[in-house]
Symmetry: C2
């Protein structure tokens, strides 16, 4: 680990210090900020290309505007690293020991220069519209500046925000950072208009932003500090809504991130020393299983289609995968709502859509899951990745999918425990025509039992009793089945021969099996890798409410944890074998 | 009740019959369809203006296209009555006994001419994009036609759909029905562009639809069958995405619905004989309480602001109310996501936003509640109307708000039981600065106890034990507290003196009180006016899981009921006093 030597950055403790710099010094600062980004990301991982492209714009913004009186809202905040370095948090980038102290996202708990905590896309314009309206109600005067990337524009919330911000009638500045990329390529008709605007240097008459009535300024050299300062000075203290469309280079200053902007969007620690990931080199896992399945299945069946909403890389859907699927692959851009409705339409018309989505982002489509998909009983498949307790940022927790999805009627939400079950469930889901199906990809472990799964999952809500015992029944959902197995095995040492159950179905109770347990069991425990509230275990507790079977539910509490260690969480939630056994013994 | 006499309509049993008509006959058919709409709505209530404005267009669509081979998707389906009359369901409009048999919404269970069940807005383009893509995967050829009103365009899902539909590269026809209205007035910058397009007869170069790359046709006389047929013939079998922008008159044919388009959007049974609603004439209710409070509060405090997403009429926010609030009122249009993020921004910047929303539509903003609002702990107030078990259409059930909202961290979700609690909660919420607060407006009853509520709701999760007894504890949430009270009183006749509890807080357990009950209670029952799954009662069951207190949870099952009678539902869910008492006696 190395501390970063800087000449200008070391003097920057607040935006005030930027205002004292010459253009030449600001250009040096830009270099040093880039080094800071690379330094941090190489140490602890994080978003690379977005920040690298926004260095000059961020310096110019802080040179022209007066944060925190003037208020910046950074969309998704992938690009907020330069802002953090300028606003008193540079040690999070220059001092390795300080890296973990500073979040990778906009965070109001860290600084008054971050009005919000932000990590999902397409929110900045709406949030900033609220800030501006509050300012106006109070009769105050300052600038409200929403920053949004071209990629984030495709999300519906951004559109709703633009539609409303444009009629505020007062100061509102929307900086559109157009680096010609979303996380992967941009998707959709809108991007042809952005291209036209770039090609005409903002002169094209047909102008997406002007259709809302925004005033509009274009900056071709969005990495030129002088040009940016001139543009921002033009709009500072403006009395009406304006869009400043700046054309930047994603990844600027680190050639591999410019050459391959998609791979350079985010990087793991140590990326500067490693070669490109190659899907064929990695060990078998749920990603490789899924992708091999989809490649074979789409070959055999032209109705099968894989869908992502802007995050193909998360599922290792690399260029080779996409090329193999061809027309049987759709990236809808950042547009989770559309993705679900689109999948419903596909399924309703006889196709076999498989929509892969991260837990944290499936939240963006509750109503579409309910109204477009479930109400219509469209037989689409949704693969929910990254669900479970983690030490992630508060903006990207994977805890809420069970309480969200499993309480919507009609959806069959499945929790495989191993490779064999997963593949069987996946193929069953793709081929069946009766239900919307979601499958929760295990994250806590990867297990292959080697035993083929011959279950017909059309026989809904049938739990599998894998080991029959007495006194205690352990119901381990999905990847936590294996924690249940550990508990079961350890209990044998205390002379307790517990029953072990793999429920497989999150969305329904196996009442016959649960009733059958009443005769010889005093206690049922449930284990789930997600929030307890509204989750799987509470339903078991409710079922046994009117019986002599006691119930203990294990899972996460309802809270937004921000980068809390797994060990601390597992202890807090008593999700450790020895703690569970202690509870069981106390209860018997 | 009268059956409608018709000359042309009576011969229309399918779209094939429309194709045989002359223009003159189609114009007669238009008159008869209008009579059908008025007849039905006057008998059983429903959407009035949207269908009246779309009569000619619907006739022309069925004349030109070949449903159900060609596929229509009607956004929100407020305007689908003429379509239903043409596609074999005219008796639902002409024969009073048949009216209730036909849903007021697009419904795939009713007819192959309705590919989906639809009742929420802004979904048609995405759903139709899925249909079109499935068609293309299969190598089939036919037209896919999405209809969407100008009002629905403001919803983010519609934008996401347009962005993706525009690059399909194959046949896709989007009919934009521009009647210059949403449910109330349109809101946002987009509508200036639609106005410009209307004023230039579609010739304006700056064109919202063209920014996505859509081909574009404008039809000024959107109520002229001949013009419409010509336009639709031009786009029939087109090989790329096109928008047909038709300018129609909302309410056409019924003058009061033309003169006052907002009031004419939807009408109660008997509307043709009644005078305009006047808010001062109605008895006290939660709507009048809220509105009187907001009128007074906004006068006293310029930071208080009321927000709706396009449904002011639902809360009786009539023109007088809006005028009184002036700048302290925002209608964001159909844009629930924006509404929540906007409220968060307002609250974060010191304003006091109150966002009123219907249960069925708060579903459209899960991620904004979680990320924009709760994660930021912004002290906004959300009033959730129309929650509870009802005999509504499956598209508009008010059952899911508790399982959705109450499992998101940080939000305080309150359930008042009476006027006095509601007003206290409302004012507390508006004035406090610590939490996002949602309040569930009672629907099952309106009670004023006359006893002032002096609770400090900052002391979170303190339940109120209103009657102390033993053996059985009845926890009645919100409006179902009164059902609990009935059960409590009736049990006295059987010598059981139950404890009665008003929890008031949906989002947290009063562990002290619940623990204290263990000593003298064998059974706790919970009553909630919403879905059991993921709801309030299951959390009580989980809490008591490891104790000797048995628990019975009462509420709705996880299902999409479509216009099922309240009596049937309450029996099915055993939510009747005598059934609950029967269960209690069986359990003790």
């Amino acid at each position: 680990m190395t501390c970063l030597q800087t000449t200008i950055l070391e003097k920057i403790n607040s935006p005030e210090d930027v205002k004292k710099l010459s253009i030449e010094e600001m250009n040096i600062l830009a270099c040093e900020i880039r080094k800071g980004i690379l330094n941090r990301v190489n140490q602890i991982g994080g978003h690379l290309g977005p920040g690298l492209g926004m260095v000059e714009a961020t310096i110019a913004l802080h040179y022209v505007f007066n944060s925190p009186v003037d208020k910046f809202v950074f969309d998704v905040s992938h690009q907020c690293y330069p802002h953090k370095m300028i606003t008193g948090r540079k040690e999070g980038f220059t001092e390795p020991t300080e890296h973990p102290e500073i979040s990778g996202y906009f965070n109001y708990k860290e600084s008054p220069h971050d009005p919000f905590m932000i990590g999902h896309t397409s929110t900045s314009v709406s949030l900033a519209t609220g800030l501006a309206k509050a300012r106006d109600l109070k009769g105050e005067k300052y600038n409200v500046i929403a920053l949004i990337g071209d990629g984030s524009l495709s999300g519906g919330e951004a559109f709703e925000g633009l539609n409303n911000a444009s009629v505020l009638g007062t100061n509102f500045i929307c900086i559109v950072n157009d680096n010609e990329m979303s996380i992967a390529e941009n998707q959709g008709g809108l991007y042809k208009n952005l291209q036209e605007l770039r090609e005409t240097k903002g002169q094209a008459v047909n102008n997406f932003f002007k259709t809302f009535g925004f005033d509009y300024i274009y900056v071709e050299n969005g990495n030129d500090i002088q040009d940016l300062i001139e543009a921002f000075n033009k709009v500072k203290d403006i009395d009406h809504p304006v869009v400043v469309h700046i054309h930047t280079l994603k990844g600027k200053g680190y050639e591999p991130a410019v050459t391959d902007k998609e791979s350079g969007h985010w990087a793991l620690a140590g990326f500067m020393d490693k070669k490109e990931n190659n899907i064929s080199e990695v060990p078998e896992c749920y990603e490789t299983l899924t992708n091999n399945y989809l490649i074979e299945k789409t070959k055999q069946d032209k109705d099968v289609i894989a869908i992502t909403s802007a995050t193909p890389g998360v599922f290792w859907w690399n260029k080779d995968f996409r090329a193999k699927l061809g027309k049987q692959y759709t990236d809808v851009g950042i547009a989770e709502e559309h993705a679900v409705a689109y999948a419903s339409g596909l399924a309703k018309n006889g196709a076999k859509p498989v929509y892969a989505v991260m837990t944290s982002f499936v939240q963006r489509t509750y109503d579409q899951l309910s109204q477009d998909l479930a109400l219509n009983n469209s037989p689409a498949t949704i693969l929910v990745y990254w669900g479970g307790i983690s030490s992630a940022d508060a903006t990207h927790l994977g805890l809420y999918d069970i309480s969200m999805i499993s309480n919507i009627p009609n959806i069959v939400y499945l929790a495989p425990t191993c490779k064999e079950e997963y593949l069987k469930m996946l193929d069953w889901s793709v081929e069946q025509t009766q239900y919307p199906v979601a499958i929760r990809i295990p994250t806590a472990n990867y297990v292959s039992t080697g035993v083929e799964d011959n279950t017909d999952y059309s026989d809904l809500n049938k739990y599998k009793m894998t080991e029959k015992g007495a006194d205690v029944a352990i119901v381990g959902l999905g990847d936590y089945y294996w924690l249940g197995k550990e508990v079961k095995d350890e209990l044998l040492n205390s002379g307790i021969n517990a029953t072990l159950i793999n429920p497989r179905f999150i969305t329904g109770l196996d009442k016959d099996m649960l009733n059958s347990l009443k005769a010889e069991h005093k206690l049922a425990i449930t284990l789930e890798n997600g929030i307890l509230n509204g989750g799987f275990g509470e339903k078991i507790a409710s079922f046994y409410g009117n019986s002599d079977v006691k119930v203990l539910n294990y899972g996460a509490y309802k809270e937004f944890n921000d980068r809390v260690s797994m060990d601390e969480l597992m202890t807090r939630y008593r999700l450790k074998k020895e703690l569970i056994i202690e509870d069981i013994k106390n209860c018997l």
